[in-house]
Structures are given as structure tokens and as C-alpha cells.
């Protein structure tokens, strides 16, 4: 019949017209500022630095090994090592970055820095409301702006964080055992 296909199509749009009023499967739009989607555990946007303990700058896990700077595909990470070792949150002497800058306008959220980091020091954030009117300095994040506590990381990526924490505990335990197994220094400490 002439026009049967057109009528079929009209019925289809009419079904969708009606369906969009009651079927969430059809009307998938989320009215963004008022409602937001539930967070997805694996989602990644931009990197941040993890620190332990209370002092953000002292507790940074980053040891300025420069691997992420080298591997970053768009070359948006910029690190300068600190010359001297500084005490970390446990009081242990560590190398730390003096400057750790990420240019968020260049970062392409690939997450390769996270994969290559041997110290679990850099992780992916889930923030996305970062618009600013200053496209240069406003999107250049230094280590103070990048530092986030480990609890924050645990909140974002539960599974990954528990694995990381377990691994770090294990390493710490091993290191302690090794230190205990070592014969006391000649002359004796204490």
C-alpha cells in the first residue's frame, strides 16, 4: 500500500513521544545541575597526588622519580626534584618533588601516569567541574593543588584503594622484617 512505511514510522515516533513521558529507558537525559549520575568507580578525569598522614606536603608519596613526566603522552607533567631529602609523614627521609606541575589544559586523561607510577603516588580524580576564566594559570595545578589525602582516594576508587593499601602494608611489613633481621649496627644504637 502507498505510504504504509511512512505510517509505520509515524506510529514509531508517536510511541516514543508517549514513552518519553513515562519510560526512563527512553528519556535518558539527566538534567545536569539539578541531578547527577551516580559516580562510577572506574571513572577517571584528571590526575591528583596522594599523600599519607596529615601534612599534605610532607606526606606526598611522590618521590620525584620522573617516570610519569617521561611517559606522559602529551607531556603535561613537569617535575623538579628536591635536592635534599626531607622527612615524610613517618619521619623517614625521602626524596620529594620541589615542583610538581600538571597542566590540566593539556592533560588528556589517559591515565598512563597512574599505570607507570611505581609508588602509587598519582591517581585519577573524578572531578569535572573545573571551568575557570583563567585558561593559563587557572588550569595549571601545582603540587599543593594536586595533593589529596589517601581517604579521598579510598572514597573514589574503593577496590583499587584497598588493593593499594594492602600492598603497601605488605611492603611495609616486609621492610620492617628486613630491618629487624639485620644485625644491629656495630656500636649499637640504643
Amino acid at each position: 500500500m502507498n505510504g504504509a512505511g511512512i505510517i509505520k514510522g509515524l506510529v514509531e515516533t508517536a510511541r516514543n513521544f508517549a514513552g518519553s513521558y513515562h519510560d526512563r529507558e527512553r528519556l535518558t537525559t539527566v538534567q545536569y545541575p539539578e541531578e547527577t549520575l551516580p559516580p562510577v568507580e572506574n571513572a577517571r578525569t584528571l590526575p591528583f597526588l596522594v599523600y599519607d598522614g596529615g601534612d599534605a606536603m610532607a606526606g606526598l608519596r611522590c618521590t620525584a622519580c620522573m617516570i610519569c613526566e617521561k611517559e606522559c603522552p602529551p607531556q603535561c607533567i613537569y617535575i623538579i626534584k628536591d635536592q635534599a631529602r626531607k622527612p615524610d609523614y613517618m619521619g623517614k627521609m625521602q626524596l620529594q618533588p620541589k615542583v610538581f606541575d600538571i597542566d590540566m589544559s593539556v592533560c588528556m586523561s589517559c591515565g598512563i601516569c597512574v599505570e607507570v607510577c611505581p609508588f602509587d603516588a598519582i591517581k585519577m580524580d573524578q572531578v569535572f567541574e573545573l571551568s575557570t576564566d583563567d585558561r593559563f594559570a587557572g588550569l595549571l595545578f601545582d603540587n599543593e593543588k594536586l595533593a589529596r589525602p589517601n581517604e579521598y582516594f579510598r572514597q573514589l576508587h574503593k577496590t583499587e584503594a584497598s588493593e593499594v593499601d594492602a600492598r603497601r602494608e605488605e611492603e611495609k611489613r616486609k621492610a620492617a622484617a628486613k630491618a629487624a633481621a639485620k644485625p644491629p649496627l656495630p656500636g649499637g644504637v640504643k
Binding site: I6, R15, N42, I112, V116
Partner: protein, 381 residues
């Protein structure tokens, strides 16, 4: 076998029939990005049509020669930004051929699942865009995007990103499936046929769509093969060539699926082949989601950093949603590829654009371009 190849004649020198020269693009609404066609029209009939490229050129290949092997992986996402996962797969396959890394079985299954989901996204969106070019006010496109959202949700919960997934690694995949993912994917795959039925009810029988597509932009199988056209476009011309079958890469050898072949090679066949391929993809998805084994997802010998393959070369290719996506790598033993080349299906499928458009009207030229399925990120690289 002799394929027709006529050197393009310059139109516009004949002053008895003055021609209207129009430049369609690069900001024309239906050139799918910054693509341009220099057309000469006689009335509304196309007598010359030259594609012009390069507006999105960023020399992806040169960037890759300056990056480590791993560093190019996120850049491949941006080639054909509709289907980042198949791009990842093609590149990973080429590097695995170069280094001889084996891929664990579970990872191969994950790759097949993701590849077929990507095909669903791409084909449904392409049909939507095609109808948009025909002037359908974006309704089919919106339906396609509605379903695409559900698949992108799957991608996000697995890879962390909706479009720029950066998921495959040399010798496996980056991370394992999160708990519940398989069930969620099964749900999406089970509901997709309903959407396809709806889509077909809206489109396939539509008289206007038939009138606009039947007999338009016919591509003969001889020309298609000679011009290196691949993917659904080639199969719409009736040539049986699907790299999933020919190379049986990944675990496609174990999958039971068929390759639909067109009859006349016109725009309608190209539309229909994509719909039929989506139905076959759903079959593959069902099998892969059913049979996926447990096990590691990354080869234990795989190196993330400092990958230095032995000097040599390799060409890895997969059946991307748009056609044969190939990566050609030459290693000189260093940490960066000496030569990195992408064989972009979108670009090579455009070779026959002029042949298909000559003698058709300008409205048809737009529809034919829509049926070729290009993404400018890949055409221009």
C-alpha cells in the same frame, strides 16, 4: 580483471554549459566534520567532485614516532573517535605481532566483546547520521545515541572513560572486568534487538528513504575491490571479505556468525548491511559473554614501559567498524617506533566518492557521503 579508472576531467572549461562551482565544506553542515568537497554542478547534477582533506591534520604518525610504544595508545583513541576500542585493538595487535607477545584467553574475549559493542555504537550512529543527511531532523540519530549511551556506560564502568577508553595493552588489557559487568553487558545486548526492531520500523520500510537510497551511489564490486574499499561498504557491493573471518584474529575463529552481503551496492544496501551486521554482532556478543573464561588478563611477560622490540616490521590489521584498520610498525630496536603508519579505512573508502557521485544530484552526493561513513579524525589523522 580491469577496474574502471578514468582520470578526472576538469569541468568548468565548457562555457556553453556554464557550471555552478560550489565548495561543500569545510563548515558545511553535513560533511561530518571539517571535510570539503569541491563540486561543479550542472543544474543540480554533479559533474565534478573533488574531496579535499587536511583540515584536521595533526600528523598523528609523526607524534607516534616521537612517543614510546605505550604513549601512542591514547592517541589512537583519537583517530576514529567514535570507536576508540577497535583502534586500541588494532594497534595492540600490531605491537603484539612485532614483539611476539601472546594474549591470554580472557583478554581476547574481552577484546571481542568490546569490539562488537563498538561496532554496534558505530553502525547505529552512522545510520542515524545518514538519515540526518537525508533531512530526518535527527530523530533516528537521537534514538541511536540513546542506545549508544547505554553502551558508553558499560565502557565507562570498565575503562574509566566513555569515549577515549585507552584500554588495551600489549599482551592483554589494562584491568579486569568489574564485578557485575558481564551481567550488565548481557542486559544491554538483550535489549539491543528491541531497539533495532524499532529502528527498522521507523526506517526500513519508509517510502521516502527507499526513494532516496535505491539505485543511488552504486558501487560495482570490481571497482570496490580495486579501490581498496573495505568494511560494510565493500560487503554491500557483494564482495565476501571480512577480516574477522579471513584472519580470524582474536577468538573470532571460535565465534559462530555470518557475514551479510549486499546485492546492488547502492546506498540502501549500505544501510541494510549495517543493520544486518549489528544483528550478527549481537550473536557474537551473546557467545562471547557466555563463554568468557576466567584467568589473567595480561601476559605476564608484557612490559608496560621501556618496550624495545627487536628490529623488524609488522603489519597488524583488524576489521574495524568502518573497514580494515591497519597499523604498520617498523622498529629499529629503540623505545619509539621507527615508522608508525595507520591505514585509515575512512580515507581509502573515500577514493570512490567521486565515481559514485558523478551524474547524481547534489542532494544524493550528501547522502552518498553519509553512507561511506567517515570520521575526520581518522581521514586526516
Amino acid at each position: 580483471m580491469s577496474a574502471r579508472f578514468s582520470p578526472p576531467e576538469l569541468a568548468g572549461t565548457d562555457f556553453e554549459h556554464p557550471l555552478l562551482e560550489v565548495s561543500l565544506g569545510p563548515h558545511h553542515p553535513s560533511t561530518h566534520g571539517v571535510f570539503r568537497m569541491d563540486a561543479a554542478l550542472d543544474g543540480e547534477t554533479v559533474v565534478k567532485l573533488k574531496p579535499v582533506f587536511g583540515y584536521l591534520h595533526r600528523n598523528h604518525e609523526k607524534i607516534a614516532e616521537k612517543c614510546s610504544y605505550l604513549g601512542s595508545m591514547p592517541f589512537t583513541d583519537r583517530l576514529d573517535y567514535m570507536c576508540s576500542l577497535t583502534n586500541n585493538w588494532g594497534y595492540a595487535l600490531a605491537v603484539e605481532k612485532l614483539t611476539g607477545l601472546a594474549v591470554p584467553e580472557r583478554a581476547e574475549y574481552i577484546r571481542v566483546i568490546l569490539g562488537e559493542l563498538t561496532r554496534l555504537i558505530n553502525h547505529s550512529a552512522v545510520v542515524g547520521f545518514l538519515l540526518q543527511d537525508m533531512g530526518a531532523m535527527g530523530t533516528p540519530l537521537m534514538y541511536a545515541f540513546r542506545e549508544r549511551e547505554k553502551i558508553l556506560d558499560l565502557f565507562e564502568s570498565l575503562t574509566g572513560a566513555r569515549m577515549m577508553c585507552n584500554y588495551m595493552r600489549f599482551g592483554g588489557c589494562r584491568c579486569d572486568l568489574p564485578p557485575g559487568w558481564i551481567g550488565q553487558a548481557r542486559g544491554v545486548a538483550a535489549k539491543f534487538p528491541l531497539f533495532l526492531d524499532e529502528f527498522e520500523a521507523l526506517l526500513t520500510g519508509n517510502e521516502i528513504l527507499k526513494a532516496r537510497t535505491e539505485g543511488v551511489g552504486v558501487l560495482t564490486p570490481e571497482l570496490a575491490v580495486n579501490a581498496g574499499v573495505t568494511g560494510p561498504m565493500l560487503r554491500a557491493s557483494g564482495v565476501n571479505y571480512d577480516i574477522r573471518k579471513v584472519d580470524a584474529y582474536g577468538v573470532y575463529g571460535r565465534m559462530d556468525f555470518r557475514v551479510p552481503l549486499g546485492e546492488r551496492g547502492d546506498v540502501f544496501d549500505r544501510y541494510m548491511i549495517r543493520i544486518l551486521e549489528m544483528r550478527e554482532s549481537l550473536k557474537i556478543l551473546d557467545q562471547a559473554l557466555r563463554d568468557i573464561p576466567d584467568g589473567p588478563i595480561l601476559n605476564l611477560n608484557a612490559k608496560l614501559r621501556n618496550l624495545r622490540p627487536k628490529p623488524g616490521e609488522a603489519y597488524g590489521r583488524i576489521e574495524g567498524p568502518k573497514g580494515e584498520l591497519g597499523f604498520y610498525l617498523i622498529s629499529d630496536g629503540g623505545p619509539n617506533p621507527y615508522r608508525y603508519r595507520v591505514r585509515p579505512p575512512s580515507l581509502i573508502n573515500l577514493t570512490v566518492l567521486e565515481d559514485m557521485c558523478l551524474g547524481q544530484t547534489i542532494a544524493d552526493a550528501v547522502v552518498i557521503l553519509g553512507s561511506v561513513d567517515i570520521v575526520l579524525g581518522e581521514v586526516d589523522r
